[in-house]
Amino acid sequence: MTEKRYDAVVFGGGSAGLAAASRIAAAGFSVAILERELEPGGVLNQCIHSGFGLHVFHEDLTGPEYAERFIARVRGAAGLDVYLGTTAQEVAVEEAGAREPIVVYGYSRRYGILRLTARAAVLAMGCRERNRGNIGIPGTRPAGIFTAGLAQRLINIDGYLPGKRAVIVGSGDIGLIMARRLIWSGAEVLGVIEIQSYPSGLTRNIVQCLNDFGIPLHLSHVVSRILGRDRVEAVEVSPVREGVVQSQGGFRLDCDTVLLSVGLVPDNELSKKFGVALNPETGGPLVDAGLQTTVPGVFACGNVLHVHDLVDYVTEEAERCGGFVTEYLRGEFQPRQYRIQPGANVKYVVPNRWFADRENRFYLRPLIVANQARLAVRLDGETVKERRLAHVQPSEMLSLTLRAQELAGIEAIRENTLEVSIT
């Protein structure tokens, strides 16, 4: 068994883990990254399309190019070890008072059984795709049904075409990207079926991945049955009115492949082993203003915390998380914090608390589609900050910064729960 001690251990070597770890190492602390795959970079490695880095680098990069910039930072960092092909299996927090209270057991072909102890931990495991079981599509269980991200991996990493005639269920970004990828790989895409009355992916993906190829987008429709014995042969598509699947007005599409792009869920299996409290709205851990979970010394960032739609936001959040970890390791982490909660038309706000006398940055997800909306931060009905938004929709996450001076003086008011709403 290999035993080592670190100041911090980071679970996951994707965009969040790489950014958080390099930030912690840059402050002079020792860090270990545990990564299950044989290469760092996470899902970026299979996202060969462009559109990454527009905010962080002001450049239009592909996923692998974006990943390589962060892999380079990690490679060059002193005191930073990356354990590839290594799965973290068990985690525990020992009684307070231990110098390195966090204990991690992992295993890998190269290192055998690994026992790491650390003073702090960063959860950066990312997210998983929802699948057929999550949405319950009736019908048979033939071959040819894939989640969109799995199909993306098969084509871009492994070099296999999953099918020739595909129907895509759900208009999430990965599904849209895969529509174009399938066509550019010589397959046909018969349509995208979306249950909601508006697309759930980014507008630029609707335009460049569907409209460019004349792929129909069937809004307010569901795949009501999958047909086929050994391989998918067809799907039945039915309209949905006021949440009810209609028996009339449907149609059939003959296809051999069904891709599901029906949402992502934070992957918190390891977080549960730590015993951190989860937020039902995000599926990720509840975190304080410094992105610390309910377990002291355990922090979270990236898609394990809440599903982001741009990697740029993941990087930004993970670097901030790394900064908070260094404050924690120095014993400078600020405990004076107050609550913030979602108000009208806001699904969630992350983090769930704010610091009284420094800048705070939040991410929030709207529940509505609207032009010329207004974002308001209130305390006991009194407006702290207001911002006009040209356009809001659930698929576009919003960020919000509250500067120290905007928060100055409101600490004295009772309760101190900020509320963020969109009208």
Binding site: I48, S50, T62, E65, I155, N156, I157, G159, D212
Partner: protein, 119 residues
Amino acid sequence: MNGRELICIACPVGCRLTVRLEGGEIRVSGNQCSKGEIYGREELLAPRRVVTTTVRLTGSSLRRLPVKTSSPLAREHIEALLAEARRLEAAPPIRLGQVLLADFASTGVDLVATRTVES
């Protein structure tokens, strides 16, 4: 070519544009800012796209090398470029940005590697 309906993708607002050719001049309407004017004009005159795909990799534990066009390629050339990429093979060492196909069809656009593969 008298009128086309487009959704502007210059920003998330997604204005619905109408682009028309009137007396030899391009008229863009429906846009809320100047970015929409530029987008509509380019889409009508010379639509271009960055193309990303993968090529076969030999002599590596990886099977595919991700690649992209060095700049947006005119849409009418995309099919031919993809056909050419399917015939390409690459072997390590490969550095990020390495040109695999130079000046495709005299467009001035290269096909370049988007990752490093060490030997």
